[in-house]
Amino acid sequence: MEEQLKLELSKVIGEYSNNRAAILQLAQTNGGQVAINKVEQEYDALRDAYFEILRRQLDKNNHLYEQLITAANSETEKLRTSVNQLNNINDIINLSTAVINLIGRIVIVLGV
């Protein structure tokens, strides 16, 4: 239904565009600038309606984009956890080095 309406609107807008100069000339003859403004407003209304359909069609997917944002953010968090885990491996080894250095100093100080 929506797609059909879009096609019809597109056809009417196209026909208006093709005859725009002649239509406006006729409007000028019959009512001057006032008539021209009215006709042009009708044309704008047709285009507004067409763009409104496009907006509605895009809006249908908005909630899916929200889900996508949640999924992407969740993966970012998981990636950060993985990065931390890799850093932890090296942190643990570095900590062990620090502990052994400390033991070395204790051994020297106590003269064991």
Binding site: A21, Q33, L54, I69, N73, L86, I93, I100
Partner: protein, 287 residues
């Protein structure tokens, strides 16, 4: 010692694959970042179209009005798509952040840092005089083996995350494909209406002498000069429209190629040459 040698051989074999996976993961993350940025650039281009449309429609109203001297300054309402664009920009910004985090995971520094850390650990241990030194065979191999283990862990994580990124990008593909048709209609409306409108402007409105000043075509007849100028303008509009639509279409292919990369890397035995080929294809499409 025999067991240690066996372990070393297994680790060496695993290490070659791990290094390759880390390297490919790094390249995939770079491309993923560029692809996400490309989407954001396309949305910026689309957001500019509403102002372009308003300006074109205002211009047409002046050019087609039979008595422009009597008309008021036109002010066509701009078509606002900011709400629709916002959710899409946010989604690709999130994807960009994901790839930035993925880049950190694919950094080759982790294995090197483990190697350095284990060497330091050994030195500290050996410097304690009262404790027996670690055997030389172990001292020479342990840092390298530790690096391989870290790389294997890293490669495993990269594979797992590629699997998630494959599902994630497949969702982005579905939505892009659904939107693409609508954005194409949006672009067609803007540029077709402008082109059709310009085609109907009275030839008397054009100044052939003014056109000839910038126009390099070798014709003197005024009607010919005006018609050729109008043809050029029409072609220019069609070119603009098609370039925009091509960007949307190319991006659909790019997303599919990126997804292919993630699917392949997540496999137990990825086809490395296929991944490299697909990454090159993405690079060419992004140019």
């Amino acid at each position: 010692m025999k067991h240690f040698s066996k372990l070393l051989i297994i680790l060496l074999l695993t290490s070659c694959t791990s290094t390759k996976i880390i390297e490919l993961g790094g390249k995939a993350s770079t491309k993923g970042t560029e692809v996400s940025q490309k989407a954001l650039d396309i949305y910026t281009l689309l957001s500019k179209q509403t102002e372009i449309d308003k300006s074109q429609q205002d211009k047409l109203k002046v050019l087609i009005n039979p008595k422009p001297s009597e008309m008021a300054l036109p002010d066509t309402k701009a078509q606002d798509f900011s709400k629709q664009l916002a959710s899409r920009v946010k989604a690709y910004q999130s994807l960009l952040d994901t790839y930035k985090a993925f880049t950190l995971l694919t950094d080759s520094k982790y294995g090197d840092k483990t190697q350095e850390a284990v060497s330091a650990l050994q030195q500290s241990y050996n410097s304690i005089e009262k404790l027996p030194d670690i055997p030389t065979t172990v001292t020479s191999k342990l840092p390298e083996v530790s690096k391989m283990i870290t790389q294997a862990i890293q490669a495993k994580k990269i594979k797992a995350h590629n699997e998630i990124l494959a599902s994630l990008t497949s969702l982005y593909i579905i939505l892009w494909d659904q939107d693409q048709k609508i954005w194409n209609d949006f672009i067609d409306r803007i540029y077709d209406d402008y082109s059709n409108g310009l085609n109907k402007v009275d030839s008397k409105r054009y100044n052939a002498k003014k056109i000839s000043e910038d126009f390099k075509e070798p014709y003197s007849d005024e009607s010919t000069v005006i018609l050729l100028y109008r043809l050029d303008k029409r072609d220019e509009i069609v070119k603009q429209k098609n370039e925009l639509k091509k960007q949307l279409n190319d991006f659909a292919i790019i997303l599919k190629e990126l997804n292919k990369v993630h699917v392949e890397i997540s496999k137990s035995k990825p086809d490395i040459s296929d991944v490299i080929k697909t990454l090159n294809s993405i690079e060419n499409l992004l140019k």
